[in-house]
């Protein structure tokens, strides 16, 4: 089994690339969101700065993407807020088991989000467009939900793999 984990560990760099890519996408979107909003405000007072009608809808859409993509990163980094008050008194094995249950449940939630999110985005996408950009389908406004599901599932697979790995390696080796 240890040999299998040593072999499967080769996928870690792939996850690192996904992690870095998502982080860069989020940062670029955050910069765009700040730039577009600032431009729109400035455009109200300074005549030569454009104040595009699409700024609010686009900014909100970017925000939704930042929210779901960065949340997936938080799964990998284990930085989501959780009740850790009793961790010091709970046995390590129990914490391991609870984390495993949580990871499985979040993965199921990820699948639900992929399924229902895709259904909803498609249904809405076929019905309407952005008010300020009539050529852009509203599908993109709701697409972050299934995308969040996909990102959650991808990182939960890694989290479950790491949990399983802990069964066969000591804490030092696992690092």
């Amino acid at each position: 089994m240890r040999a299998f984990f040593h072999f499967a560990d080769r996928i870690k760099p792939f996850y690192d690339i996904i992690d870095k890519t998502i982080l860069v996408i989020c940062k670029v979107m955050l910069i765009l969101v700040i730039a577009i909003t600032t431009m729109a405000v400035t455009g109200r007072y300074v005549s030569f700065v454009p104040d595009p009608a699409w700024s609010e809808e686009i900014v909100l859409t970017f925000m939704a993407y930042i929210a779901v993509l960065s949340a997936a990163l938080a799964i990998r980094r284990r930085s989501h807020i959780r009740m850790t008050a009793f961790d010091r008194v709970l046995p390590k094995k129990l914490i391991w088991a609870l984390d495993l249950i949580a990871d499985v449940a979040v993965m199921i939630l990820g699948f639900i989000m992929i399924f229902v999110g895709w259904q909803y985005a498609q249904r809405l996408g076929s019905r309407g467009t952005y008010v300020s950009i009539p050529s852009l389908s509203r599908f993109w406004m709701y697409f972050p939900v299934p995308l969040a599901g996909v990102a959650m599932v991808i990182f939960e697979i890694e989290a479950l793999y790491n949990s399983a790995r802990k069964l066969f390696f000591s804490e030092e080796e696992a690092k």
């Binding site: 969101v33 700040i34 405000v41 930042i66 008050a85 949580a102 979040v106 909803y120």
Partner: protein, 430 residues
């Protein structure tokens, strides 16, 4: 009113159960909502609809902007300048460095809006300085963590924006103004406590008061403090919305940090965005999933039922106000700030308004309660950061903080029972 007790039990019971099982709160909220939707036979597409609705709020956009601004300013080298300004203001007093710590937190809070950032940033400079001058390390840490709560009340505060949205669209400008006096009272109360300790323990005085030095420090810190002015004057004066002012403030803070204070280069700015995304990764998804939970709470009439149940316990508004504080304090001890604001506001706000509390005043109460919660075990993130920065065990920090907890509770009681403390400034500016 039709009451579906089983659905309410599933929603709240499963949420609490999942939280107890150490599920990430953002996903515990979503899973509890999914279970309730399934029980009620409602379409699961509600999850997608409510998540996007929750995050697609232009006013909430101020949250990532304020968080980003806080990180840029924090890393842009303004901490030292604000400490120097505070030193020029109050460093001459007995226990001067403790006073400087408290006043610097007031200034810094206006920029970062985060108690954790305040403790990490100011604490790493102030605690060693205080220890070098003969202050006890546990006292220095206690002063640092308690004064960091001022930062949650001094605008701009992204938690105020979250509360304003959770409360159904309150005026963010009014909330911003409402925070100033409670934060000042908290600062003065803490300063009195620190002064008493300083006299008893013979902590040193700083240099004599020097008006010229004060003016010089004001001039140096002006650029940093102007970011707060842009936001508050912009919002209160109706020039910008909170979101617009926050975006302008981010760009302004970038210019100040890179070109004026030169504490950051462009590489540093790119790195700072990592930290901003780290924080956003926790906050934004929580806002998104909490909106499904909030939708179900409203659909199941939970706020009205909770209000009736609590109002049935006693008719005394004083006891009810105290009860609200106790509930929030207990929640603050076991949960982080954003989830409490997002989950408890829809339930507790109707109770607060029914006993005559203004939603603005209640917002300040929630933030102060949560702030105290950040300093208390078992889930006191600021307590843990303070303990790590000050290199003092949590037990010793808690012991040294005990008198300061009492001072904070005293401030909380003042805020609860004297509405003018929160409402004077908003009413002044209409």
């Amino acid at each position: 009113m039709i009451v579906d007790g089983t659905a309410i039990l599933i929603l709240i019971g499963s949420f609490l159960f999942l939280v107890a099982l150490r599920f990430p709160i953002a996903y515990a909220v979503a899973l509890a909502s999914v279970l309730t939707l399934l029980y009620q036979g409602l379409p699961l597409t509600t999850v997608a609809q409510q998540m996007v609705n929750g995050i697609s709020s232009f006013s909430l956009m101020a949250v990532p902007f304020f968080i980003t601004m806080g990180y840029i300013m924090g890393k842009g080298g303004i901490s030292e300048k604000l400490i120097a300004l505070a030193n020029a203001c109050v460093g001459w007093m007995r226990g001067g460095m403790a006073m400087v710590n408290i006043v610097a937190s007031y200034f810094f809070g206006g920029i970062s809006g985060s108690a954790a950032a305040d403790t990490a940033s100011l604490g790493s400079i102030m605690i060693p300085m205080m220890v070098d001058q003969g202050y006890d390390d546990d006292f220095s840490t206690a002063v640092t963590i308690t004064s960091s709560v001022e930062g949650l009340l001094v605008p701009p505060s992204h938690n105020m924006v979250i509360y304003a949205t959770s409360a159904g669209g309150l005026s963010v400008g009014a909330l911003f103004l409402a925070g100033y006096i409670p934060a000042a009272i908290l600062a003065v109360t803490l300063m009195i406590g620190a002064y008493i300790f300083s006299v008893r323990r013979k902590y040193p005085k700083g240099d004599k008061f020097n008006l010229l030095n004060l003016l010089k420090q004001i001039a140096i810190s002006f650029w940093a403090l102007a970011a707060v002015l842009i936001v508050v004057v912009g919002v209160v004066g109706g020039i910008f919305t909170p979101t617009e002012s926050a975006a302008i403030a981010v760009v302004y803070s970038l210019i100040v940090s890179v070109f004026i204070y030169k504490g950051l280069d462009w590489k540093g700015v790119w790195k700072v965005l990592d930290q901003a995304i780290d924080t956003l990764s926790i906050v934004l998804i929580l806002i998104a999933t909490s909106s499904i939970f909030g939708f179900l709470l409203t659909r199941l009439n939970v706020p009205t039922l909770a209000a009736n149940a609590i109002l049935g316990l006693t008719e005394s508004p004083i006891l009810l106000a105290l009860l609200l504080n106790i509930i929030l304090l207990v929640l603050g001890m076991i949960m982080d700030m954003a989830p409490i604001i997002l989950i408890a506001t829809p339930i507790l706000l109707p109770i607060a308004t029914s006993i005559g509390l203004s939603p603005i005043q209640f917002g300040i109460m929630i933030i102060l309660n949560c702030g105290i919660g950040l300093l208390t075990p078992p889930v006191g993130s600021v307590l843990f950061i303070g303990s790590a920065v000050g290199k003092v065990s949590i037990e010793r920090v808690v012991k040294a903080t005990l008198p300061f907890y009492l001072l904070m509770i005293f401030t909380l009681i003042l805020v609860t029972f004297i509405p003018a403390i929160s409402l004077f400034l908003p009413s002044l500016f209409n």
